[in-house]
Every structure is written in C-alpha cells, then in structure tokens.
C-alpha cells in the first residue's frame, strides 16, 4: 500500500515537472502581461489576435509547415523506393546500404549540417532553399527507410510472385501489391519525417538562405543570449496552439491505433 502511494506520487511529481513549463506558457498565453511572472489584470485572446496579425511570425509558421511537408514528401518517396530496393538486393548491398542509412541518425547533427553546407557550396547552391531541402531530406530519410523495412519483412512474398505469374509487369506488381501492403509503414515514416523536420534547428541554421525563418530559428533568435518572452509575447500563443494541436493529434492517432489493434485482435 505504502509502495503504491509512493510510486504513484513519484509518477505524478515527474509528470508535473515535465508539464510545468508547458502549463506556465499555456496559462500566460491568455494574459496580456509583457513578462511572465507579472500578472496583468487584462486577459483574454489578445495574444492570439496579435499572433494572427504578426505577418512576420505567420510567414515563419507557413514556411516551417511547407518545408516540413515538402521535405517529408521527398523523403517518403525516395526513402520508400530505397527501402524496397535495399530489401530485395543481395546480402552485401543490403548490409552496406543499411549501414549508410544509419549514418545521419548516429552522426551529430552539427556534423551533418556542416557536411551538407560544404557539399552544397561545392555544387554551387550553398545556403539556398535547395540546400535547406536537401538538409531536411538527409535528416529525415533514415526514419522513413527504417519504418518501411519492417513492413516489407512482414509482407507475404508469394503475393508479388503470384501477380507476376498472372502476367503483371514488375512495375505494376509494385504498385498493385507492394505499396498497399507496406502503406502503414510509409504513412508512419511520413509523419515521423514531418515531425523531425518541424523540430530541427541546427541543420536549418547551417543551410537556410539568410532571410528565411522557421519556428525553430525564430524562437532561437528571440531567446538565445539572455532574451525572453517580452521580446515577442505572441510566441506564447503560438506555443499554446502547438500544444493543443499536438494533444489532439496524439489522441486521435492513438484512438485509431487502438481501434485497429482491436479489429486485428478480433479477427
């Protein structure tokens, strides 16, 4: 009994510490005070209106989302093709490609960042949207490949052979059989890629054009070196929105996962 209470309160304490900064910003997103800690008498949705009217910040949000979607899409297409290719290659190629795939995950982000900046300068498009995109694809593509390969392992190989026997071309067989079978892996790879791209600061700062901003670089510029929220109070509203969207997303996602596993369980 004592053990139960102890472990319960420990879990609660750690959860509280994890959420304390988030809740603080969430609460203060409804308060107009210039600074967190000084409670202003007027509160409401003013900061959200400010966020909406802050053209610079809104452009940053759109930039971030577009970059994540485009990079995620390229990573998913290229990574899925790569995963299929790797999986059906002979043992040596398979092993070598697997090791290569892991490099960007193992490597320190700042090393990846500098290496991409070097190669893009070499090719003559250093610090452009292209180099930024390449950086994000390099960063996210291993996650796509690693979420697709397990699905390929689960797939029944006879299906592909059967369709070929029935006269389909290999190309057609891939679109007809392989892609639908591994679709869950492709989708989760895509979502992962988007999430990682949204999160990134270091590669972005090494490869982006100088005037381009993402949420990460915007917040970094506002907060690094002694800055705090008084510089841009509207960021509190942005934070609260991201938090709510993420909660909604995770709830919906786990709801779908749960239903799927229940359906598969009853089969």
């Amino acid at each position: 009994m004592v053990k139960k209470i102890l472990s319960g309160s420990y879990i609660t304490l750690v959860l509280f510490l994890l959420y304390a900064p988030i809740l603080l910003l969430f609460v203060y997103s409804f308060n107009m005070s210039r600074e967190i800690g000084i409670w202003s008498p007027d509160w409401g949705f003013d900061l959200y209106v400010k966020l909406w009217n802050n053209a610079d910040l809104m452009e940053t949000v759109v930039n971030t989302l577009v970059l994540a979607l485009v990079a995620g899409f390229i990573s998913t297409v290229l990574g899925t093709m790569g995963a299929i290719g790797i999986y059906y290659s002979n043992h040596r190629v398979n092993k070598a490609m697997n090791e290569l795939t892991k490099i960007p995950m193992i490597n320190a982000e700042v090393v990846t960042a500098i290496s991409i900046a070097l190669i893009c300068t070499m090719f003559g498009f250093g610090r452009s949207y292209a180099s930024l995109l390449i950086g994000h694809v390099v960063l996210t593509i291993p996650f796509v490949v690693l979420s697709v390969i397990p699905k390929l392992k689960q797939m029944d190989n006879n299906l592909y052979e059967a369709v070929l026997d029935l006269g389909a071309t290999p190309t057609k067989a891939i679109f007809l059989i392989v892609i639908p079978e591994i679709l869950p892996g492709i989708i989760s790879g895509f979502l992962l890629a988007i999430n990682i791209s949204l999160d990134d600061y270091i590669i972005t700062s090494f490869t982006k054009p100088s005037t381009f901003k993402t949420i990460s670089t915007y917040v970094y510029d506002a907060y690094a070196k002694g800055g705090k929220s008084s510089s841009v109070p509207a960021l509190r509203a942005l934070f609260a929105i991201i938090f709510v969207v993420m909660i909604a997303y995770v709830v919906i996602y786990s709801f779908i996962q749960n239903r799927k596993s229940k359906r598969e369980g009853s089969r």
Binding site: S7, G8, Y10, I11, V14, L17, P21, I22, L24, L25, I36, L78, G82, I84, G85, I86, Y88, S89, M97, K102, I103, P104, I106, N107, A108, E109, V110, V111, I114, S115, I116, L118, M122, V137, P142, F143, V145, T169, P170, T171, I174, L191, N195, D199, I202, S205, F206, I215, V219, Y220, A222, Y223, K225, S229, L235, F239, I242, M246, I247, V250
Partner: protein
C-alpha cells in the same frame, strides 16, 4: 507502362545515389577541409569551390593548443555525462513503475511522458527558460550551468524513459520470482536480477542522450545566458561567424572520430541489437 519498366531492386538506385552524394561525399569533404588551409592565391596546391588551398595539419594543432577549446571539450563531456546520469536516475523508477503498474493500461500513462516530445524542441527549451525566470533562476549568472543542466535533463528525459520502459516490460517476471523464492531480499533481487537484465535499455538510453547533449548547442545557448559553450557551438562559430570552414571541419572531424569510437564500443555492448531503430520507435 512499357516505357517505364523497373524491378524492385532498381528502385533503390536513386536512394543510393542520394546517400552517396549527400551523406558519403560530404563526410569525405569534411576530411578534406580539415586537412587543408586557405592560402594566398598563387601558392595553392589546388582549389576547392574556387578557393585556393593547400594541405596542412596546423588546423589540429591550432585547435588543441588553445586552452579555451580544451575547456569547452571538458564542459561538453561533463555536461553530457551529468545529464545522462541524472536522466537515468530520474527515468529508471518512472520506467519501472510504468512497466509494472496496473494503471498504465495500454500505455496511456506512457503517452503522457512522451507527449512533450511532439512540441517543437526549441519552443520547449524556451518554455523551460520562462519557468526558470519565473522561479528566479536568472538572478545570478552563477546559475547558468545549472540552468543548462536542468534544460538538458528536461528535454531528453522522454528519450531515456522510452528504451528503459520497453526493456523492463519484456523482462520475464519468473526471474524475479525465482530470486525471491531462493530467499533474496527485494533489494538484492533488483540489484542482481532486474538491473542487469535492463542493461540493454540503459545502453541505448545512454547512446541516445550522450551525443546530442555534447553537441546540440540550442539548450546551452538558450538557457546558459552566454556563459556555457559546448563543442557544437564552436563548430557553429567557426562556420557561421568566423567563416573559417577549415577550422570548423577540423572540429567536426574530431567529433566524427569520437562518435565512431563510441559507436564501435557500444556496438560491442549491444551485439547488433538494432538500436538506432529505437529512436524511430519513439514516435
């Protein structure tokens, strides 16, 4: 579809080309830059990207001869090690309780611990800064190091809880029961049975935290009030402010060697247990 025929194997070609062009060749470029130096036009051995350079090892002696750089290396590794140890100490009981308890039905409670990871990393760090201001941790500059440490533990805690949780969950209950039947006290059972069995989780947690905390300078820049410099920041400064790409690449190469050695060592520990996939499983 006659003009567009390809087999499954050939689908991998664009990916292989991409990896070679943007992962392998860039790493070789780092080595090239690290061992070369910008020289006045005319005395060059060759040019990279239109810049006259010649071979030199002085980049390395320049880096290691500066007292400040050595200090930064010590601060980086010190911070990373302390962060890892504190994170493990906080996370292990959490993972253990979550894995054993009944109120974590279907991992719902676990999701609560992972959820903060979905918020932008820089924003999360900024939120921590607001909290630290709120409780008065910025009244003195002497808190800079502690603030950075708090931020690092805060940001990486979910990365430690996850692998520990999944390993502890898989430990067969009968081992602990056998140990108890043979007369071991609960504490003894934990130390000599459960803890050794959760070693793979500890190793993969360490490998997920140690490196990013050594090099990812976002947290130290945001929370350290300009008083905490880690090795990743040195590369950024050389690269973005000093525009000395050769010096930047030199530090990057030093890091690469360290990463390579530590990967080799931890690979011996885990025996080809696909651990980089662990990070993919987090989300």
């Amino acid at each position: 579809m006659n003009g567009l025929k390809f087999s499954r194997k050939q689908l991998g070609i664009p990916y292989a080309v991409f990896l070679i062009a943007f992962v392998v060749v860039p790493l070789l470029l780092i080595i090239l830059y690290a061992f070369t130096k910008k020289v006045p036009a005319g005395s060059e051995t060759f040019t990279i990207a239109g810049e006259p350079v010649s071979f030199a090892v002085s980049n390395f002696s320049d880096f290691f001869s500066k007292q400040a750089n050595i200090r930064v290396l010590f601060v980086s590794f010190g911070l990373a090690i302390i962060t890892t140890v504190i994170s493990l100490l906080i996370a292990y009981p959490v993972a253990y309780i979550l894995a054993k308890s009944k109120f974590n039905k279907g991992g719902v409670l676990l999701i609560l611990f992972i959820l903060p990871l979905w918020i932008n990393f820089v924003l999360r760090t900024a939120a921590m800064k607001e909290l630290l201001y709120f409780i008065g941790m910025y009244k003195s500059n002497s808190f800079s190091f502690v603030n950075t440490l708090i931020g690092m533990v805060y940001d990486y805690l979910p990365f430690v809880i996850m692998p520990l949780y999944s390993v502890i969950l898989k430990i067969d209950k009968s081992y602990a029961e056998a140990s108890a039947d043979l007369g071991a006290k609960p504490w003894k059972t934990f130390v000599s049975v459960t803890l050794p069995l959760s070693m793979p989780g500890i190793v993969s947690a360490v490998s997920m935290v140690l490196l990013p905390t050594t090099t990812s300078y976002v947290i130290s820049d945001t929370l350290g009030n300009g008083n905490v410099t880690i090795v990743g920041k040195l590369i950024e400064t050389q690269f973005l402010t000093m525009h000395n790409w050769h010096a930047g690449s030199t530090i990057a190469l030093v890091l690469l060697v360290i990463i390579f050695i530590s990967m080799f060592l931890s690979g011996k520990f885990t025996e080809e247990k696909d651990e980089s996939a662990g990070r993919a499983n987090l989300w």
